[in-house]
């Protein structure tokens, strides 16, 4: 073996060792700072992790763009929803007076809220865009209470890392990390464009998450569960989306 090729071999070996060590360190740091998405396994895990980690670092506190009243889409486009369940029809017949949002998991005071209770908290509005992963979009004014307010009421325990949220529709649920859960634009939404939130848009209660595409804004919200791990939920991939082949994190 000549000197040149030996030198090349040694440098290549050193570079490879440094690369592997660097990747190991990066993985450990990413785990520590919560930059690994629950659907990080499989062939698309690399891209998902890079997207989630980089966007989480860039957007921890950034606000979704807000628009002027004149930019509100008339009429807003309501996407398809599954036919209502009997339970939903019963609640609708009672004008949602018996609708409840239960909050449990890693909280000091698990509770159940009626719509009137949620409306008794200071209401907030945002004029933001709902963007569907398919490519279409609309702008609406959303009225609700920030999720962080309700989380304060129930007292989130310090080890909490995610909030899972569930629809009255079977098998419809999502989850978000605490950065999104405590974000000021993450709303429990009950009003839209100066009216009640229409059923076609997820009324009476929808989670609004304007920094992620539409499927994370779950309609007909009935339950929140605060947790430190998503492993015990469904197939352990974080939400219903990855079980159907879609990404858990949908900031893009």
């Amino acid at each position: 073996m000549s000197d040149i090729s030996r030198r090349k071999l040694i440098t290549t070996g050193l570079a490879a060792t440094a690369g592997v060590a660097g990747l190991g360190l990066a993985a450990r740091l990413a785990q520590k700072y919560g930059l690994i998405p629950p659907d990080h396994g499989g062939i698309y895990g690399l891209g998902e992790t890079l997207t989630y980690a980089s966007q989480r670092l860039l957007t921890r506190h950034s606000l979704a763009r807000e628009f002027s009243r004149s930019q509100i889409s008339k009429p807003p486009f309501a996407n398809e929803v599954e036919p209502p369940t009997d339970e939903f029809k019963r609640l609708q017949a009672g004008r949602f007076a018996d609708w409840r949002l239960s909050v449990n998991g890693m909280v000091a005071r698990p509770a159940s809220f009626s719509l009137d209770q949620l409306k008794s908290y200071p209401s907030h509005t945002q004029i933001t865009m709902l963007q569907c992963e398919e490519g279409w979009s609309y702008i609406a004014e959303w009225v609700g209470v920030p999720l962080s307010h309700v989380l304060d009421v129930v007292g989130v325990l310090p080890q909490a890392r995610y909030v899972a949220y569930f629809s009255i529709e079977p098998d419809t649920w999502e989850s978000i990390d605490m950065a999104d859960a405590l974000h000021p634009q993450t709303f429990l939404t009950y009003g839209m464009n100066g009216d009640e939130l229409p059923v076609g848009h997820g009324g009476p209660l929808r989670l609004r998450l304007p920094r992620q595409v539409g499927y994370k804004s779950v309609k007909f919200l009935t339950r929140l569960t605060v947790t430190d791990s998503l492993k015990g939920f469904g197939k352990g991939l974080g939400s219903a989306a990855p079980e159907a082949g879609y990404a858990w994190y949908a900031g893009i």
Binding site: G47, Q71, S73, F77, E80, M129, E133, S137, G245
Partner: protein, 266 residues
């Protein structure tokens, strides 16, 4: 993204202005550096993945708009006359294609990451090693009006490329590659990021400068079309110039020349 190439033939400034003299018979010339070849093929694979997944994503909503918003209830800028994979989209077709958006989105973003990281490596090394200056920047005389029209006329008459072009790019090639690397690629990345609600929350100018989120989507579509057009011409020209020799050069890095052609030239 699309294949891009940089020659490794540092000794030859330009196909048009320099033909090497006194080339010994049956020489093997180093044509493309390893970095150029590896990044070229990774990018080619990524472009294929981005194209297939991008087409699938368009099928879920083959309507395009200008400004901030657009949906089935609003007028379009234009729509593609194809069926859709969602039944609410008014396409005129009586059937709905299967939904492929889940894996298409996963694949699109993963391929974009690999392409961007590969492109960064290529651009950094391209500047450090002088690839851009030596192999892609056209020489001054090549940019004269006469030289350009001559090169263009030669292309339009489908003249066989000269032997020198096996080792070095002609001026039109150089300009096309520079345009793809420094204009189309950055613009397709920009318009792609401008569609991300999270990204624009941190950098709203990325979408505001384009005139809105739907404008960004429409522009992303057109830049992608331009890149596909480049790919078609690129592959066509490789075919025309000699598929085997050009492929061998981009795979093994070597371009062979024979005594006969050397004789002809001298």
């Amino acid at each position: 993204m699309v294949p891009f190439r940089v020659g490794d033939s540092a000794c030859i400034p330009s196909a048009a202005s320099a033909v090497p003299t006194a080339v010994p018979s049956k020489t093997v010339v180093s044509r493309h550096s390893a970095l150029v070849r590896v990044t070229h093929w990774i990018t080619a694979l990524c472009f294929l993945a981005l194209l297939v997944s991008g087409v699938e994503l368009v099928i879920s909503h083959p309507r395009f708009y200008w400004g901030e918003t657009g949906n089935d209830l609003t007028p379009t800028l234009f729509k593609l006359p194809i069926p859709a994979s969602r039944n609410l989209v008014p396409t005129g077709y009586k059937y709905v294609l299967p939904d492929q958006n889940g894996w298409s989105r996963y694949l699109h973003f993963q391929a974009a990451w690999v392409a961007i990281l590969t492109g960064l490596l290529y651009v950094i090394f391209g500047f450090l090693t002088g690839h851009f200056r030596k192999n892609l920047l056209p020489g001054g005389p090549d940019l004269s009006w006469r030289a350009l029209t001559k090169a263009m006329a030669g292309h339009l008459r489908f003249e066989r490329p000269s032997e020198a072009e096996a080792w070095s790019y002609n001026v039109l090639q150089r300009l096309a590659y520079l345009f793809v690397i420094f204009i189309l690629f950055p613009f397709v990345i920009w318009t792609g990021l401008a569609m991300s609600p999270a990204f624009v929350s941190a950098f709203p100018a990325t979408v505001n400068l384009l005139g809105g989120q739907q404008s960004a989507r429409t522009l992303h579509f057109f830049v992608s079309l331009a890149l596909v057009l480049f790919l078609v011409v690129h592959v066509g020209m490789v075919w025309f110039a000699g598929f085997r020799s050009r492929m061998r050069a981009m795979i093994t890095g070597r371009a062979a020349t024979t005594a006969a052609t050397t004789m002809e030239r001298t």
